[in-house]
Amino acid sequence: MLAYILRRLLWTPVLLALAAFFVFFMGTCAPGDPAELRLGNRATPERIERERERLGLDRPILFQYAKYVNGILKGDFGDSYHYQGRPVLELIAPRLWVSMQLNIAALIVAVVIGLPLGFYAAKRQGTGRDPAIVISMLILYAMPVFFTAPLLILFFAVQLHWVPAAGWGGFFSLQIILPALTIGVPGAAIFVRHMRASTLEVIGQEYIRTAHAKGMSGFVVNYRHIARNALLPILTIMGFTLAGMFGGSLIVELIYGIPGAGRLSLDAIFQRDFPVLTAFVLLGAGMLVVANLVIDVAYTIVDPRIRLQ
Protein backbone atom coordinates (compact mmCIF):
# COMPACT_ATOMS: atom_id res chain seq x y z
CA MET A 1 0.00 0.00 0.00
CA LEU A 2 2.67 2.48 1.07
CA ALA A 3 4.85 1.21 -1.76
CA TYR A 4 2.01 1.85 -4.21
CA ILE A 5 1.48 5.41 -3.05
CA LEU A 6 5.21 6.01 -3.16
CA ARG A 7 5.42 4.65 -6.70
CA ARG A 8 2.51 6.82 -7.80
CA LEU A 9 4.12 9.85 -6.14
CA LEU A 10 7.38 9.21 -7.99
CA TRP A 11 5.62 8.61 -11.33
CA THR A 12 3.48 11.76 -11.10
CA PRO A 13 6.32 14.27 -11.68
CA VAL A 14 7.63 12.13 -14.56
CA LEU A 15 4.16 12.04 -16.05
CA LEU A 16 3.80 15.80 -15.71
CA ALA A 17 7.26 16.38 -17.20
CA LEU A 18 6.35 14.23 -20.22
CA ALA A 19 3.02 16.05 -20.52
CA ALA A 20 4.87 19.35 -20.31
CA PHE A 21 7.25 18.28 -23.07
CA PHE A 22 4.36 17.29 -25.29
CA VAL A 23 2.59 20.60 -24.76
CA PHE A 24 5.83 22.57 -25.15
CA PHE A 25 6.62 20.77 -28.38
CA MET A 26 3.14 21.51 -29.75
CA GLY A 27 3.72 25.14 -28.80
CA THR A 28 6.91 25.32 -30.84
CA CYS A 29 5.07 23.83 -33.84
CA ALA A 30 2.64 26.68 -33.58
CA PRO A 31 2.75 29.26 -36.33
CA GLY A 32 4.37 32.64 -35.85
CA ASP A 33 7.74 33.58 -34.45
CA PRO A 34 7.43 34.52 -30.76
CA ALA A 35 10.05 37.23 -31.16
CA GLU A 36 8.13 38.79 -34.05
CA LEU A 37 4.83 38.52 -32.20
CA ARG A 38 6.33 40.27 -29.18
CA LEU A 39 7.84 43.15 -31.10
CA GLY A 40 4.94 43.80 -33.43
CA ASN A 41 4.92 44.58 -37.15
CA ARG A 42 7.36 47.44 -37.24
CA ALA A 43 10.36 45.56 -35.84
CA THR A 44 13.51 45.45 -37.95
CA PRO A 45 15.09 42.08 -38.76
CA GLU A 46 18.07 42.97 -36.53
CA ARG A 47 15.87 43.67 -33.53
CA ILE A 48 13.97 40.41 -34.10
CA GLU A 49 17.29 38.58 -34.27
CA ARG A 50 18.41 40.14 -30.98
CA GLU A 51 15.06 39.32 -29.35
CA ARG A 52 15.36 35.71 -30.52
CA GLU A 53 18.75 35.48 -28.87
CA ARG A 54 17.47 37.09 -25.70
CA LEU A 55 14.58 34.61 -25.52
CA GLY A 56 16.87 31.69 -26.25
CA LEU A 57 14.93 30.76 -29.39
CA ASP A 58 18.14 30.08 -31.30
CA ARG A 59 19.08 27.27 -28.91
CA PRO A 60 18.15 23.58 -29.36
CA ILE A 61 14.58 22.63 -28.43
CA LEU A 62 15.64 20.43 -25.51
CA PHE A 63 17.51 23.35 -24.05
CA GLN A 64 14.45 25.57 -24.44
CA TYR A 65 12.34 22.88 -22.81
CA ALA A 66 14.72 22.65 -19.84
CA LYS A 67 14.47 26.40 -19.48
CA TYR A 68 10.66 26.24 -19.63
CA VAL A 69 10.45 23.52 -16.97
CA ASN A 70 12.96 25.33 -14.82
CA GLY A 71 10.74 28.40 -15.02
CA ILE A 72 7.60 26.41 -14.13
CA LEU A 73 9.29 25.00 -11.04
CA LYS A 74 9.81 28.58 -9.93
CA GLY A 75 6.18 29.42 -10.77
CA ASP A 76 7.04 31.18 -14.04
CA PHE A 77 5.09 29.99 -17.07
CA GLY A 78 6.70 32.49 -19.39
CA ASP A 79 5.29 35.73 -20.71
CA SER A 80 2.21 36.25 -22.80
CA TYR A 81 2.78 37.21 -26.45
CA HIS A 82 -0.32 39.26 -26.62
CA TYR A 83 -0.57 41.17 -23.34
CA GLN A 84 2.83 42.83 -23.90
CA GLY A 85 5.04 40.63 -21.80
CA ARG A 86 2.81 40.15 -18.79
CA PRO A 87 3.62 36.92 -16.95
CA VAL A 88 1.24 34.15 -17.97
CA LEU A 89 0.60 33.03 -14.42
CA GLU A 90 -0.53 36.51 -13.41
CA LEU A 91 -3.09 36.43 -16.26
CA ILE A 92 -4.28 32.89 -15.65
CA ALA A 93 -4.48 32.55 -11.88
CA PRO A 94 -7.56 34.74 -11.27
CA ARG A 95 -9.35 33.26 -14.29
CA LEU A 96 -8.62 29.73 -13.17
CA TRP A 97 -9.92 30.50 -9.70
CA VAL A 98 -13.24 31.65 -11.21
CA SER A 99 -13.51 28.49 -13.32
CA MET A 100 -12.74 26.30 -10.33
CA GLN A 101 -15.48 27.91 -8.23
CA LEU A 102 -17.94 27.43 -11.08
CA ASN A 103 -17.00 23.79 -11.53
CA ILE A 104 -17.21 23.03 -7.83
CA ALA A 105 -20.68 24.57 -7.71
CA ALA A 106 -21.60 22.43 -10.73
CA LEU A 107 -20.23 19.31 -9.06
CA ILE A 108 -22.35 20.01 -6.00
CA VAL A 109 -25.44 20.32 -8.23
CA ALA A 110 -24.55 17.08 -10.02
CA VAL A 111 -24.01 15.14 -6.79
CA VAL A 112 -27.08 16.50 -5.01
CA ILE A 113 -29.34 15.62 -7.94
CA GLY A 114 -27.57 12.56 -9.26
CA LEU A 115 -26.92 10.39 -6.22
CA PRO A 116 -30.43 10.35 -4.68
CA LEU A 117 -32.02 9.90 -8.11
CA GLY A 118 -29.72 7.02 -9.00
CA PHE A 119 -30.39 5.36 -5.66
CA TYR A 120 -34.13 5.83 -6.06
CA ALA A 121 -34.10 4.43 -9.61
CA ALA A 122 -32.27 1.32 -8.43
CA LYS A 123 -34.71 0.79 -5.57
CA ARG A 124 -37.57 1.03 -8.07
CA GLN A 125 -36.07 -1.39 -10.57
CA GLY A 126 -38.80 -3.29 -12.38
CA THR A 127 -41.30 -0.44 -12.16
CA GLY A 128 -41.87 2.23 -14.78
CA ARG A 129 -40.10 4.86 -12.71
CA ASP A 130 -36.65 3.38 -13.14
CA PRO A 131 -36.49 3.62 -16.95
CA ALA A 132 -38.33 6.96 -16.80
CA ILE A 133 -35.59 8.44 -14.61
CA VAL A 134 -32.78 6.90 -16.64
CA ILE A 135 -34.17 8.05 -19.98
CA SER A 136 -35.11 11.56 -18.91
CA MET A 137 -31.64 12.05 -17.43
CA LEU A 138 -30.14 10.81 -20.69
CA ILE A 139 -32.23 13.33 -22.61
CA LEU A 140 -30.87 16.11 -20.40
CA TYR A 141 -27.35 14.71 -20.74
CA ALA A 142 -27.51 14.71 -24.52
CA MET A 143 -28.88 18.26 -24.72
CA PRO A 144 -26.06 20.51 -26.03
CA VAL A 145 -25.08 23.44 -23.78
CA PHE A 146 -25.40 25.70 -26.83
CA PHE A 147 -29.11 25.27 -26.26
CA THR A 148 -29.55 24.77 -22.51
CA ALA A 149 -27.57 27.87 -21.56
CA PRO A 150 -29.57 30.42 -23.58
CA LEU A 151 -32.81 28.57 -22.74
CA LEU A 152 -32.19 28.91 -18.99
CA ILE A 153 -31.26 32.58 -19.37
CA LEU A 154 -34.35 33.26 -21.44
CA PHE A 155 -36.64 31.57 -18.95
CA PHE A 156 -35.25 32.38 -15.51
CA ALA A 157 -33.60 35.73 -16.19
CA VAL A 158 -35.50 37.36 -19.05
CA GLN A 159 -39.01 36.02 -18.38
CA LEU A 160 -39.13 35.49 -14.63
CA HIS A 161 -36.40 37.96 -13.53
CA TRP A 162 -35.36 35.57 -10.77
CA VAL A 163 -31.66 35.80 -11.38
CA PRO A 164 -29.33 38.10 -13.33
CA ALA A 165 -28.87 37.02 -16.95
CA ALA A 166 -25.11 36.89 -17.04
CA GLY A 167 -21.89 37.94 -15.42
CA TRP A 168 -19.95 36.83 -12.42
CA GLY A 169 -20.37 37.71 -8.76
CA GLY A 170 -18.43 35.04 -6.95
CA PHE A 171 -19.35 31.70 -5.46
CA PHE A 172 -22.13 32.97 -3.20
CA SER A 173 -23.94 35.17 -5.71
CA LEU A 174 -27.17 34.55 -7.59
CA GLN A 175 -25.34 34.68 -10.91
CA ILE A 176 -23.68 31.33 -10.32
CA ILE A 177 -26.99 29.41 -10.21
CA LEU A 178 -27.74 29.19 -13.93
CA PRO A 179 -24.25 28.28 -15.15
CA ALA A 180 -23.89 25.75 -12.33
CA LEU A 181 -27.19 24.16 -13.39
CA THR A 182 -26.15 24.19 -17.04
CA ILE A 183 -23.02 22.18 -16.27
CA GLY A 184 -24.31 20.28 -13.26
CA VAL A 185 -27.55 18.76 -14.57
CA PRO A 186 -25.94 16.85 -17.47
CA GLY A 187 -23.23 15.87 -14.99
CA ALA A 188 -25.95 14.48 -12.71
CA ALA A 189 -26.88 12.04 -15.48
CA ILE A 190 -23.47 10.42 -15.13
CA PHE A 191 -23.95 10.08 -11.38
CA VAL A 192 -27.44 8.63 -11.82
CA ARG A 193 -26.08 6.00 -14.14
CA HIS A 194 -23.23 4.92 -11.87
CA MET A 195 -25.11 5.27 -8.59
CA ARG A 196 -27.92 3.15 -10.02
CA ALA A 197 -25.54 0.42 -11.18
CA SER A 198 -23.62 0.38 -7.94
CA THR A 199 -26.78 0.34 -5.80
CA LEU A 200 -28.15 -2.58 -7.80
CA GLU A 201 -24.92 -4.44 -7.17
CA VAL A 202 -25.09 -3.87 -3.41
CA ILE A 203 -28.80 -4.76 -3.18
CA GLY A 204 -28.01 -8.23 -4.50
CA GLN A 205 -25.47 -8.92 -1.72
CA GLU A 206 -26.22 -11.41 1.00
CA TYR A 207 -25.57 -9.06 3.89
CA ILE A 208 -28.49 -6.95 2.74
CA ARG A 209 -30.77 -9.97 2.94
CA THR A 210 -29.32 -10.72 6.38
CA ALA A 211 -29.99 -7.17 7.54
CA HIS A 212 -33.61 -7.42 6.38
CA ALA A 213 -33.94 -10.87 7.98
CA LYS A 214 -32.67 -9.51 11.29
CA GLY A 215 -35.72 -7.28 11.21
CA MET A 216 -33.87 -4.02 10.76
CA SER A 217 -35.97 -1.11 9.61
CA GLY A 218 -36.00 -0.33 5.91
CA PHE A 219 -34.56 3.09 6.59
CA VAL A 220 -31.49 1.76 8.39
CA VAL A 221 -30.86 -0.88 5.73
CA ASN A 222 -31.23 1.67 2.96
CA TYR A 223 -28.89 4.22 4.35
CA ARG A 224 -26.42 2.35 6.49
CA HIS A 225 -26.08 -0.84 4.48
CA ILE A 226 -26.93 -0.01 0.90
CA ALA A 227 -26.23 3.66 0.22
CA ARG A 228 -22.95 3.78 2.10
CA ASN A 229 -21.52 0.82 0.23
CA ALA A 230 -22.92 1.92 -3.08
CA LEU A 231 -21.19 5.29 -2.71
CA LEU A 232 -17.70 3.81 -2.75
CA PRO A 233 -17.23 3.34 -6.52
CA ILE A 234 -18.70 6.82 -7.07
CA LEU A 235 -15.55 8.38 -5.61
CA THR A 236 -13.50 7.37 -8.65
CA ILE A 237 -16.03 8.83 -11.02
CA MET A 238 -15.91 12.22 -9.28
CA GLY A 239 -12.39 12.80 -10.55
CA PHE A 240 -13.33 12.10 -14.15
CA THR A 241 -16.49 14.16 -13.91
CA LEU A 242 -14.66 17.17 -12.55
CA ALA A 243 -12.18 16.90 -15.43
CA GLY A 244 -14.98 16.59 -17.97
CA MET A 245 -16.72 19.62 -16.54
CA PHE A 246 -13.53 21.65 -16.75
CA GLY A 247 -13.68 21.22 -20.52
CA GLY A 248 -17.43 21.77 -20.72
CA SER A 249 -17.27 25.01 -18.79
CA LEU A 250 -15.39 26.70 -21.67
CA ILE A 251 -18.57 27.13 -23.70
CA VAL A 252 -20.74 27.88 -20.69
CA GLU A 253 -18.36 30.66 -19.65
CA LEU A 254 -18.61 32.15 -23.14
CA ILE A 255 -22.41 32.18 -23.18
CA TYR A 256 -22.81 33.50 -19.62
CA GLY A 257 -20.00 36.03 -20.00
CA ILE A 258 -18.06 34.64 -17.05
CA PRO A 259 -14.45 35.85 -16.85
CA GLY A 260 -13.08 32.35 -16.39
CA ALA A 261 -10.40 30.27 -18.00
CA GLY A 262 -12.60 29.53 -21.01
CA ARG A 263 -12.76 33.09 -22.26
CA LEU A 264 -9.03 33.65 -21.86
CA SER A 265 -8.03 30.40 -23.57
CA LEU A 266 -10.36 31.14 -26.48
CA ASP A 267 -8.80 34.58 -26.86
CA ALA A 268 -5.39 32.93 -26.64
CA ILE A 269 -6.24 30.69 -29.59
CA PHE A 270 -7.25 33.56 -31.83
CA GLN A 271 -4.40 35.83 -30.78
CA ARG A 272 -1.94 32.96 -31.23
CA ASP A 273 -0.90 33.47 -27.62
CA PHE A 274 0.55 30.02 -27.18
CA PRO A 275 2.29 30.52 -23.81
CA VAL A 276 -1.14 31.16 -22.30
CA LEU A 277 -2.74 28.18 -24.05
CA THR A 278 0.02 25.73 -23.15
CA ALA A 279 0.01 26.91 -19.53
CA PHE A 280 -3.73 26.25 -19.39
CA VAL A 281 -3.47 22.78 -20.81
CA LEU A 282 -0.57 21.99 -18.50
CA LEU A 283 -2.29 23.31 -15.38
CA GLY A 284 -5.43 21.40 -16.35
CA ALA A 285 -3.39 18.23 -16.69
CA GLY A 286 -1.67 18.85 -13.36
CA MET A 287 -4.97 19.29 -11.54
CA LEU A 288 -6.41 16.16 -13.15
CA VAL A 289 -3.41 14.00 -12.27
CA VAL A 290 -3.27 15.20 -8.68
CA ALA A 291 -7.05 14.83 -8.25
CA ASN A 292 -6.90 11.24 -9.47
CA LEU A 293 -4.01 10.47 -7.14
CA VAL A 294 -5.85 11.92 -4.15
CA ILE A 295 -8.99 9.99 -5.03
CA ASP A 296 -7.11 6.70 -5.39
CA VAL A 297 -5.51 7.13 -1.99
CA ALA A 298 -8.77 8.27 -0.39
CA TYR A 299 -10.37 5.16 -1.80
CA THR A 300 -8.13 2.83 0.18
CA ILE A 301 -8.88 4.73 3.37
CA VAL A 302 -12.65 4.70 2.87
CA ASP A 303 -12.78 1.07 1.80
CA PRO A 304 -10.30 -1.08 3.73
CA ARG A 305 -11.10 -4.07 1.51
CA ILE A 306 -9.22 -2.46 -1.33
CA ARG A 307 -5.52 -3.01 -1.42
CA LEU A 308 -3.82 -1.15 -4.21
CA GLN A 309 -0.79 -2.70 -5.80
Binding site: C29, L151, L288
Partner: protein, 327 residues
Amino acid sequence: MSSVTRLDQEISELPRSRGHWRNVWARFRRRRLAFISLILITFIYLLGIFAPVIQTHDYQETNLRRTQQGPSAENWLGTDRAGRDIYTRVVWGIQTTVIITVSTFITGSLFLGVTMGLFAGYFRGWIDAVIMRIGEVVSAFPDILLIILLAATLRPVIVEFARSVEDSTGMSGLVSSGVVDYVVIGIALLPLSWFGMMRLVRGQVLVLRDAEYVQAARAMGTSTPRILFRHILPNVVSPIIVSVSFGIGAVALSEVVLSFFGLGVQPPRPSLGVMIGEVTARGGASVSVLRDHPEQLLAPIIVVWLLIFCWNIVGDALNDVLNPRSR
Protein backbone atom coordinates in the same frame (compact mmCIF):
# COMPACT_ATOMS: atom_id res chain seq x y z
CA MET B 1 -37.80 -48.04 -40.60
CA SER B 2 -34.24 -48.24 -39.35
CA SER B 3 -33.21 -46.38 -36.25
CA VAL B 4 -30.74 -44.30 -38.23
CA THR B 5 -33.36 -42.73 -40.47
CA ARG B 6 -35.55 -42.07 -37.47
CA LEU B 7 -32.70 -40.20 -35.83
CA ASP B 8 -32.19 -38.20 -39.01
CA GLN B 9 -35.82 -37.34 -39.02
CA GLU B 10 -35.73 -36.25 -35.39
CA ILE B 11 -32.72 -34.04 -36.01
CA SER B 12 -34.34 -32.38 -38.98
CA GLU B 13 -37.39 -31.61 -36.87
CA LEU B 14 -35.35 -29.76 -34.25
CA PRO B 15 -35.59 -25.99 -34.48
CA ARG B 16 -32.70 -24.74 -36.61
CA SER B 17 -30.20 -22.95 -34.40
CA ARG B 18 -29.55 -19.42 -35.45
CA GLY B 19 -26.11 -17.87 -35.68
CA HIS B 20 -24.72 -15.73 -32.86
CA TRP B 21 -25.26 -12.44 -34.69
CA ARG B 22 -28.80 -13.31 -35.68
CA ASN B 23 -29.53 -14.00 -32.03
CA VAL B 24 -28.01 -10.71 -31.05
CA TRP B 25 -30.06 -8.90 -33.67
CA ALA B 26 -33.26 -10.61 -32.52
CA ARG B 27 -32.60 -9.62 -28.91
CA PHE B 28 -31.71 -6.07 -29.92
CA ARG B 29 -34.87 -5.68 -31.99
CA ARG B 30 -36.99 -6.50 -28.99
CA ARG B 31 -35.78 -3.32 -27.26
CA ARG B 32 -38.21 -0.87 -28.72
CA LEU B 33 -36.51 2.40 -27.78
CA ALA B 34 -33.10 1.19 -28.95
CA PHE B 35 -34.56 -0.07 -32.20
CA ILE B 36 -36.29 3.25 -32.87
CA SER B 37 -33.05 5.06 -32.02
CA LEU B 38 -31.14 2.95 -34.53
CA ILE B 39 -33.71 3.74 -37.22
CA LEU B 40 -33.45 7.45 -36.40
CA ILE B 41 -29.66 7.36 -36.57
CA THR B 42 -29.80 5.58 -39.91
CA PHE B 43 -32.29 8.14 -41.20
CA ILE B 44 -30.14 11.08 -40.08
CA TYR B 45 -27.01 9.57 -41.59
CA LEU B 46 -28.83 8.86 -44.86
CA LEU B 47 -29.85 12.53 -45.00
CA GLY B 48 -26.17 13.41 -44.75
CA ILE B 49 -24.97 10.86 -47.27
CA PHE B 50 -27.55 11.94 -49.83
CA ALA B 51 -27.12 15.66 -49.14
CA PRO B 52 -26.18 16.51 -52.75
CA VAL B 53 -29.38 14.80 -53.97
CA ILE B 54 -31.89 16.07 -51.42
CA GLN B 55 -30.61 19.64 -51.08
CA THR B 56 -33.12 22.28 -52.17
CA HIS B 57 -30.54 25.03 -52.69
CA ASP B 58 -26.79 25.37 -52.92
CA TYR B 59 -25.27 25.54 -49.43
CA GLN B 60 -23.24 28.63 -50.38
CA GLU B 61 -25.98 30.43 -52.24
CA THR B 62 -26.90 33.65 -50.46
CA ASN B 63 -30.10 35.53 -51.10
CA LEU B 64 -30.03 38.95 -49.50
CA ARG B 65 -33.69 39.58 -50.28
CA ARG B 66 -34.68 36.60 -48.16
CA THR B 67 -32.63 36.79 -44.94
CA GLN B 68 -33.73 35.51 -41.52
CA GLN B 69 -36.96 34.08 -42.91
CA GLY B 70 -39.02 31.57 -40.96
CA PRO B 71 -39.86 28.15 -42.40
CA SER B 72 -41.73 28.31 -45.72
CA ALA B 73 -42.43 26.21 -48.80
CA GLU B 74 -39.34 27.62 -50.47
CA ASN B 75 -37.02 27.31 -47.46
CA TRP B 76 -38.24 24.38 -45.37
CA LEU B 77 -36.36 25.41 -42.22
CA GLY B 78 -36.04 29.09 -43.04
CA THR B 79 -32.95 31.10 -43.96
CA ASP B 80 -30.02 32.46 -41.99
CA ARG B 81 -28.61 35.98 -41.80
CA ALA B 82 -27.03 35.71 -45.24
CA GLY B 83 -30.21 34.26 -46.74
CA ARG B 84 -28.78 30.75 -47.04
CA ASP B 85 -31.17 27.81 -46.83
CA ILE B 86 -30.96 26.24 -43.35
CA TYR B 87 -32.32 22.84 -44.39
CA THR B 88 -29.66 22.48 -47.06
CA ARG B 89 -26.93 23.53 -44.67
CA VAL B 90 -28.12 21.09 -42.02
CA VAL B 91 -28.02 18.09 -44.35
CA TRP B 92 -24.54 19.08 -45.53
CA GLY B 93 -23.54 19.55 -41.89
CA ILE B 94 -24.71 16.00 -41.19
CA GLN B 95 -22.53 14.81 -44.06
CA THR B 96 -19.55 16.47 -42.37
CA THR B 97 -20.41 14.67 -39.14
CA VAL B 98 -20.69 11.34 -40.94
CA ILE B 99 -17.33 11.75 -42.69
CA ILE B 100 -15.54 12.80 -39.50
CA THR B 101 -17.06 10.12 -37.31
CA VAL B 102 -16.34 7.33 -39.77
CA SER B 103 -12.79 8.42 -40.54
CA THR B 104 -11.92 9.06 -36.88
CA PHE B 105 -13.19 5.68 -35.79
CA ILE B 106 -11.53 3.74 -38.57
CA THR B 107 -8.13 5.37 -38.11
CA GLY B 108 -8.01 6.10 -34.40
CA SER B 109 -10.13 3.75 -32.49
CA LEU B 110 -10.31 0.72 -34.77
CA PHE B 111 -6.92 0.71 -36.44
CA LEU B 112 -4.63 2.22 -33.79
CA GLY B 113 -6.60 1.32 -30.68
CA VAL B 114 -7.37 -2.28 -31.55
CA THR B 115 -3.95 -3.24 -32.92
CA MET B 116 -2.10 -1.57 -30.06
CA GLY B 117 -4.41 -3.24 -27.57
CA LEU B 118 -3.80 -6.63 -29.19
CA PHE B 119 -0.02 -6.13 -29.11
CA ALA B 120 0.10 -4.73 -25.58
CA GLY B 121 -2.08 -7.48 -24.17
CA TYR B 122 -0.48 -10.34 -26.05
CA PHE B 123 3.20 -9.49 -25.80
CA ARG B 124 3.07 -7.68 -22.46
CA GLY B 125 6.54 -6.70 -21.26
CA TRP B 126 8.08 -3.48 -22.54
CA ILE B 127 5.69 -3.04 -25.49
CA ASP B 128 2.82 -2.99 -23.03
CA ALA B 129 4.66 -0.67 -20.65
CA VAL B 130 5.52 1.86 -23.38
CA ILE B 131 2.01 1.92 -24.87
CA MET B 132 0.39 2.25 -21.45
CA ARG B 133 2.70 5.06 -20.34
CA ILE B 134 2.07 7.01 -23.56
CA GLY B 135 -1.64 6.55 -22.98
CA GLU B 136 -1.34 7.79 -19.42
CA VAL B 137 0.42 10.95 -20.56
CA VAL B 138 -2.23 11.62 -23.21
CA SER B 139 -5.12 10.95 -20.85
CA ALA B 140 -3.61 13.28 -18.25
CA PHE B 141 -5.05 16.21 -20.20
CA PRO B 142 -8.65 17.39 -19.99
CA ASP B 143 -10.08 16.17 -23.34
CA ILE B 144 -11.48 19.35 -24.77
CA LEU B 145 -8.42 21.44 -23.90
CA LEU B 146 -6.09 18.95 -25.56
CA ILE B 147 -8.27 18.71 -28.66
CA ILE B 148 -8.39 22.50 -28.95
CA LEU B 149 -4.63 22.83 -28.51
CA LEU B 150 -3.93 20.14 -31.11
CA ALA B 151 -6.34 21.61 -33.64
CA ALA B 152 -4.98 25.14 -33.13
CA THR B 153 -1.32 24.21 -33.50
CA LEU B 154 -1.65 21.54 -36.19
CA ARG B 155 -3.91 23.36 -38.63
CA PRO B 156 -1.25 25.74 -40.06
CA VAL B 157 1.28 22.89 -40.29
CA ILE B 158 -1.13 20.64 -42.16
CA VAL B 159 -2.43 23.43 -44.41
CA GLU B 160 1.19 24.32 -45.26
CA PHE B 161 1.90 20.67 -46.08
CA ALA B 162 -1.21 20.39 -48.28
CA ARG B 163 -0.19 23.56 -50.14
CA SER B 164 3.25 22.16 -50.85
CA VAL B 165 1.67 18.94 -52.11
CA GLU B 166 -0.59 21.01 -54.35
CA ASP B 167 2.37 22.95 -55.70
CA SER B 168 4.58 19.96 -56.37
CA THR B 169 1.94 17.75 -57.96
CA GLY B 170 0.03 20.45 -59.75
CA MET B 171 -3.12 19.21 -58.06
CA SER B 172 -5.41 22.01 -57.03
CA GLY B 173 -8.31 22.39 -54.64
CA LEU B 174 -6.85 20.13 -51.93
CA VAL B 175 -7.04 22.88 -49.34
CA SER B 176 -10.31 24.36 -50.53
CA SER B 177 -12.08 20.99 -50.76
CA GLY B 178 -12.17 20.66 -46.97
CA VAL B 179 -10.13 17.45 -46.86
CA VAL B 180 -7.52 19.31 -44.83
CA ASP B 181 -10.13 20.19 -42.20
CA TYR B 182 -11.06 16.54 -41.85
CA VAL B 183 -7.42 15.57 -41.39
CA VAL B 184 -6.92 18.27 -38.75
CA ILE B 185 -10.02 17.23 -36.81
CA GLY B 186 -9.17 13.54 -37.18
CA ILE B 187 -5.70 14.01 -35.73
CA ALA B 188 -6.94 16.30 -32.96
CA LEU B 189 -9.49 13.68 -31.94
CA LEU B 190 -6.96 10.83 -31.92
CA PRO B 191 -6.06 11.12 -28.22
CA LEU B 192 -9.76 10.91 -27.41
CA SER B 193 -10.35 7.81 -29.47
CA TRP B 194 -7.42 5.43 -29.29
CA PHE B 195 -6.54 5.06 -25.63
CA GLY B 196 -9.92 3.95 -24.32
CA MET B 197 -10.22 1.35 -27.06
CA MET B 198 -6.65 0.18 -26.54
CA ARG B 199 -7.15 -0.31 -22.80
CA LEU B 200 -10.38 -2.20 -23.41
CA VAL B 201 -8.88 -4.57 -25.98
CA ARG B 202 -5.74 -5.04 -23.90
CA GLY B 203 -7.77 -6.06 -20.86
CA GLN B 204 -9.68 -8.66 -22.88
CA VAL B 205 -6.55 -10.00 -24.54
CA LEU B 206 -4.78 -10.36 -21.19
CA VAL B 207 -7.48 -12.85 -20.22
CA LEU B 208 -7.76 -14.59 -23.59
CA ARG B 209 -4.05 -15.08 -24.25
CA ASP B 210 -3.99 -17.85 -21.64
CA ALA B 211 -7.28 -19.41 -22.70
CA GLU B 212 -7.01 -23.07 -23.61
CA TYR B 213 -7.95 -22.66 -27.27
CA VAL B 214 -5.23 -20.06 -27.69
CA GLN B 215 -2.70 -22.32 -26.00
CA ALA B 216 -3.81 -25.12 -28.31
CA ALA B 217 -3.35 -22.91 -31.36
CA ARG B 218 0.09 -21.90 -30.14
CA ALA B 219 1.03 -25.54 -29.50
CA MET B 220 0.06 -26.43 -33.06
CA GLY B 221 2.51 -23.86 -34.31
CA THR B 222 0.01 -21.24 -35.49
CA SER B 223 1.76 -18.00 -36.39
CA THR B 224 1.40 -15.09 -34.01
CA PRO B 225 -0.48 -12.77 -36.40
CA ARG B 226 -2.91 -15.59 -37.11
CA ILE B 227 -3.48 -16.19 -33.40
CA LEU B 228 -4.00 -12.47 -32.83
CA PHE B 229 -6.34 -11.75 -35.71
CA ARG B 230 -8.10 -15.08 -36.29
CA HIS B 231 -8.34 -16.51 -32.79
CA ILE B 232 -8.30 -13.62 -30.34
CA LEU B 233 -9.79 -10.67 -32.27
CA PRO B 234 -13.17 -12.29 -33.07
CA ASN B 235 -13.68 -12.84 -29.35
CA VAL B 236 -13.08 -9.19 -28.57
CA VAL B 237 -15.51 -7.88 -31.19
CA SER B 238 -18.49 -7.51 -28.83
CA PRO B 239 -16.89 -5.06 -26.37
CA ILE B 240 -15.40 -3.17 -29.33
CA ILE B 241 -18.87 -2.67 -30.85
CA VAL B 242 -20.26 -1.46 -27.53
CA SER B 243 -17.38 0.95 -27.02
CA VAL B 244 -17.68 2.37 -30.54
CA SER B 245 -21.40 2.95 -30.18
CA PHE B 246 -20.85 4.88 -26.94
CA GLY B 247 -17.97 6.85 -28.44
CA ILE B 248 -19.64 8.07 -31.62
CA GLY B 249 -21.77 10.66 -29.82
CA ALA B 250 -18.69 12.06 -28.10
CA VAL B 251 -16.77 12.34 -31.37
CA ALA B 252 -19.68 14.04 -33.11
CA LEU B 253 -19.94 16.52 -30.24
CA SER B 254 -16.18 17.21 -30.29
CA GLU B 255 -16.37 18.12 -33.97
CA VAL B 256 -19.25 20.47 -33.20
CA VAL B 257 -17.28 22.12 -30.38
CA LEU B 258 -14.13 22.50 -32.51
CA SER B 259 -16.06 23.96 -35.43
CA PHE B 260 -17.98 26.21 -33.03
CA PHE B 261 -14.66 27.70 -31.92
CA GLY B 262 -13.62 28.08 -35.57
CA LEU B 263 -10.94 25.42 -35.25
CA GLY B 264 -12.66 22.60 -37.11
CA VAL B 265 -14.45 22.75 -40.42
CA GLN B 266 -13.89 26.08 -42.16
CA PRO B 267 -16.60 28.05 -43.92
CA PRO B 268 -18.04 28.01 -46.56
CA ARG B 269 -18.24 24.24 -45.97
CA PRO B 270 -21.19 23.80 -43.59
CA SER B 271 -20.99 21.84 -40.36
CA LEU B 272 -23.40 21.74 -37.45
CA GLY B 273 -20.74 23.36 -35.24
CA VAL B 274 -20.03 26.10 -37.79
CA MET B 275 -23.76 26.85 -38.02
CA ILE B 276 -24.12 27.11 -34.23
CA GLY B 277 -21.00 29.23 -33.95
CA GLU B 278 -22.03 31.60 -36.76
CA VAL B 279 -25.58 32.11 -35.62
CA THR B 280 -24.65 32.79 -31.98
CA ALA B 281 -21.53 34.81 -32.80
CA ARG B 282 -19.51 32.22 -30.84
CA GLY B 283 -21.82 32.19 -27.86
CA GLY B 284 -22.28 35.92 -27.35
CA ALA B 285 -25.63 36.24 -29.12
CA SER B 286 -27.13 32.90 -28.04
CA VAL B 287 -30.00 34.40 -26.06
CA SER B 288 -31.20 36.88 -28.66
CA VAL B 289 -31.04 34.26 -31.42
CA LEU B 290 -33.03 31.78 -29.37
CA ARG B 291 -35.64 34.46 -28.70
CA ASP B 292 -35.89 36.01 -32.15
CA HIS B 293 -34.98 33.24 -34.60
CA PRO B 294 -35.12 29.96 -32.69
CA GLU B 295 -35.19 27.82 -35.86
CA GLN B 296 -31.70 29.00 -36.81
CA LEU B 297 -30.26 27.66 -33.57
CA LEU B 298 -32.58 24.71 -33.08
CA ALA B 299 -32.14 23.12 -36.50
CA PRO B 300 -28.49 22.12 -36.02
CA ILE B 301 -28.87 21.56 -32.27
CA ILE B 302 -31.73 19.08 -32.50
CA VAL B 303 -29.67 16.94 -34.88
CA VAL B 304 -26.71 16.92 -32.45
CA TRP B 305 -29.05 16.23 -29.53
CA LEU B 306 -30.73 13.31 -31.31
CA LEU B 307 -27.43 11.80 -32.40
CA ILE B 308 -25.95 11.85 -28.89
CA PHE B 309 -29.13 10.59 -27.25
CA CYS B 310 -29.78 7.81 -29.77
CA TRP B 311 -26.20 6.55 -29.77
CA ASN B 312 -26.28 6.33 -25.97
CA ILE B 313 -29.52 4.34 -26.02
CA VAL B 314 -28.15 2.04 -28.74
CA GLY B 315 -24.91 1.62 -26.79
CA ASP B 316 -26.81 0.68 -23.64
CA ALA B 317 -28.89 -1.87 -25.50
CA LEU B 318 -25.88 -3.35 -27.29
CA ASN B 319 -24.09 -3.63 -23.96
CA ASP B 320 -26.97 -5.64 -22.52
CA VAL B 321 -27.36 -7.78 -25.62
CA LEU B 322 -23.70 -8.45 -26.34
CA ASN B 323 -22.31 -8.74 -22.80
CA PRO B 324 -25.06 -10.51 -20.90
CA ARG B 325 -22.67 -11.12 -18.01
CA SER B 326 -22.28 -7.41 -17.34
CA ARG B 327 -25.92 -7.07 -16.32
